[in-house]
């Protein structure tokens, strides 16, 4: 896909949505149904020609266009008139098209709307939707928790990186999984809200699928995600404390300037942040190495010594790593709308809404745009693409309806599998 293929305007953006989606879908979403009903032994249903036409002509185009509200309406209306077996058959048809299941479509669309503070625009979830969504939410939460548990930092004793770059990589992985655990807790909270729906209390004879869905313990999942997050955070802090000692040794030795830049940041900038955190009376650490009452004073001595050794490299390293951090977000970050090119409307008024982006989970390696294949970054230059965003029309007002159409909104579900929602930028940049 090159910019020459791009047609401007609202209609063309729909076209771009169609052509861009497959390129982003490197990790095809799981096609299997996430609904608990799938566990029940039932003969597989076959789709009618009308249902097949719905998939081909309405559902898939809506999913590719990415308007979450439209997708919610379509799927909601469809599942309301289908049995669980038919939902499963429809999921199979979607899988053949490398599209996510109904449950996943519903869940991702609703969760994205909630994240963008636009959840109130969504229609009330029906019982059939709730059943599909809670199953999918459970699957996603389990996946996030299982992935987070694999982080090396959960090993005891903690890893001992051999270089400052290795320290950075360990901390980055912890940062990514910390975000994922925040997301898991968020999903669990949404699952709890769904299971509180008054529609559930009215069900007299639940199907096996409904029974399984209503029994999901989202309180347990929420607690588990939060507990893991707390543990991971403490481990990351401990690793940062270890990094100060490591960096101090580097500054005391005759290392090259590149190493000294890295060490200066670890001691002078990150060290200060750590000391402030340790002095916070409200924080009670569970890890033994962080519980020592003298830890803050010991760190203060190390940080002061490091600052003396590093001199003005402290300030320079802060500028360097802050700059590179923001640059990385500009280069690789994806917003929630228009294929990731845009941030939500809330960003117009709310500075906090300008921060959140989907960021790659691992350090990306750019590809040569001239060679084709999946592009990295997604946009070789943003200016090759952003010009096509136009939400205005020559409007007609008066007794007739106006001719303008809303800007195409895309909440990409595929790329979220390769990325994590990174909504916080603190003072740590390396």
């Amino acid at each position: 896909m090159t910019p020459i293929g791009l047609r401007a305007g609202v209609l063309s953006l729909l076209a771009v949505a169609v052509s861009l989606s497959p390129a982003f879908a490197q990790e095809p979403p799981p096609a299997k149904s996430a609904q608990p009903a799938a566990k029940a032994a039932q003969p597989p249903a076959r789709l009618t020609p009308k249902q097949l036409a719905f998939v081909k002509n309405e559902l898939l185009p809506a999913w590719r266009a990415g308007d979450p509200l439209h997708l919610l309406r379509l799927v909601g209306e469809q599942v309301a008139k289908q049995s669980e077996q038919q939902n499963a058959a429809l999921d199979r048809a979607l899988a053949e098209e490398k599209a996510p299941s109904l449950g996943r479509m519903l869940t991702d669309a609703r969760m994205n709307l909630v994240r963008l503070d636009a959840g109130s625009q969504a229609p009330e979830a029906t019982l059939a939707e709730i059943v599909l969504m809670v199953g999918e939410l459970e699957r996603q939460i389990q996946e996030k928790i299982a992935t987070a548990k694999k982080v090396e930092l959960f090993a005891d004793p903690l890893p001992s990186p051999a270089t400052l770059t290795e320290f950075r990589d360990q901390l980055w992985k912890a940062h990514v999984q910390n975000n994922e655990l925040i997301n898991a807790a968020f999903l669990a909270l949404q699952g709890r809200a769904l299971l509180n729906s008054p529609l559930i209390a009215k069900v007299k004879n639940p199907t096996p699928g409904q029974e399984a869905a209503f029994a999901i313990d989202f309180v347990k999942y929420q607690g588990e995600a939060q507990e893991l997050q707390r543990d991971l955070n403490e481990r990351a802090i401990e690793l940062r404390v270890n990094r100060i000692a490591f960096a101090l040794k580097l500054l005391e030795g005759k290392n090259d300037l590149k190493e000294r830049f890295l060490a200066a940041y670890a001691v002078g900038v990150d060290g200060e942040i750590l000391i402030q955190g340790l002095k916070n009376d409200k924080v009670r650490f569970r890890r033994e190495n962080l519980s020592s009452p003298t830890l803050a004073d010991e760190l203060r001595a190390s940080v002061d010594r490091g600052k003396t050794l590093a001199g003005d490299l402290i300030k320079k390293s802060e500028l360097l790593f802050a700059g590179l951090h923001w640059w990385r977000r500009g280069r690789y970050g994806r917003g929630s709308e228009l294929h990731g090119l845009l941030k939500p409307e809330a960003a117009l008024k709310n500075p906090a809404a300008q921060i959140g982006l989907l960021m790659p989970r691992t350090s990306p390696e750019p590809t040569d745009p001239a060679k084709g294949g999946r592009p990295s970054p997604d946009f070789d230059r943003r200016h090759h693409w952003t010009w096509a965003w136009e939400d205005r029309q020559f409007e007609t007002v008066g007794t007739g309806s106006h001719t303008s159409e809303p800007v195409t909104k895309l909440v990409s579900t595929e790329t979220q599998r390769m990325r994590h929602w990174d909504g916080i930028v603190d003072d740590r940049f390396y």
Binding site: P3, R7, L320, R331, K343, A370, E390
Partner: protein, 272 residues
């Protein structure tokens, strides 16, 4: 964008007739474009760093940036699109140069070009690239990326049948406005290229860049005229009591935002 024919004071009178207008664009919408805040903040820090750092330190910084593959930037992207031989071609660094560029200056130059282009497309800044040009420590890289951007937009438009169609027949739609934005961005690129590198151009290069500018300006002028004509026509055929401000507002729309002036730098190039 403040262009509108139906102003607030006439809204209550428009219930029995139709009136076409170009609605205002939110001046803050640039904040929705991913990269604007991010690259701006990156430049804030990295430019300050470049001002403080010694050459020895800059070399170390360069090493740090080069050691991370994610900071690699591919250049000369326009070569995929351009037709014929260009006098403004980027020169390969070696025999097997794949145009992968690495280093601190490439990083800052890319941020500069991206922010400048966003300002050109989504703000009324009169000199969008000059606003982010910096102190010049990365001028060589910046010029290459400006050249690539200018050629990319020019050739993408030239090769785009959708653009040809809207130039053939005016269509009062968002699509036309989007193409106009691309023309604005392309013109701003050409103008910034000339401002930063024009003095180094040989006569053939001057001729080529003038060709870009002339074609882009011509298309912008044509669309501007079509918009003006369209809105004038609609106003003339609409039975309204609009209170006199519409002409000014229309002109403001067309001149201030719809088609900005970018051609001064190009006009200053030497004649052949």
């Amino acid at each position: 964008m403040t262009g509108t024919v139906a102003s607030t004071q006439t809204e209550s009178q428009t219930t029995n007739y139709f009136s076409n207008y170009l609605p205002p664009a939110d001046p803050n919408r640039i904040y929705r474009v991913v990269g604007f805040m991010e690259y701006s903040k990156a430049l804030e820090s990295l430019d300050a760093l470049a001002a403080l750092a010694t050459n020895y330190e800059l070399a170390a910084i360069d090493e740090i940036v080069k050691s991370e593959p994610e900071f690699t930037i591919y250049t000369n992207l326009a070569r995929r699109l351009e037709r014929g031989r260009s006098n403004l071609a980027e020169k390969p660094a070696g025999e097997n140069d794949d145009f992968a560029r690495k280093g601190f200056r490439w990083v800052t130059a890319l941020a500069r070009v991206e922010v400048g282009a966003m300002l050109a497309g989504f703000s009324s800044h009169p000199q969008p690239f000059a606003a982010v040009a910096g102190t010049g420590y990365d001028l060589a890289e910046y010029k290459e990326l400006l050249l690539d951007g200018a050629k990319m937009h020019f050739w993408a438009l030239t090769n785009d049948p959708g653009f040809t169609a809207i130039m053939r027949k005016f269509n009062p739609s968002g699509t036309t406005l989007a193409y106009l934005r691309r023309l604005n961005v392309a013109s701003a690129f050409v103008s910034a290229l000339v401002a930063s590198a024009g003095r180094e151009f040989n006569p053939a290069q001057v001729q080529e860049v003038k060709l870009y500018a002339t074609k882009l300006e011509g298309s912008r002028g044509d669309i501007r005229l079509s918009i003006e004509n369209y809105l004038q026509q609609v106003m003339a055929s609409t039975k309204t009591n609009l209170v006199g401000r519409q002409d000014n507002i229309l002109l403001e729309a067309c001149y201030k935002n719809v088609c900005q002036q970018y051609s001064r730098d190009v006009a200053a190039l030497p004649r052949q």
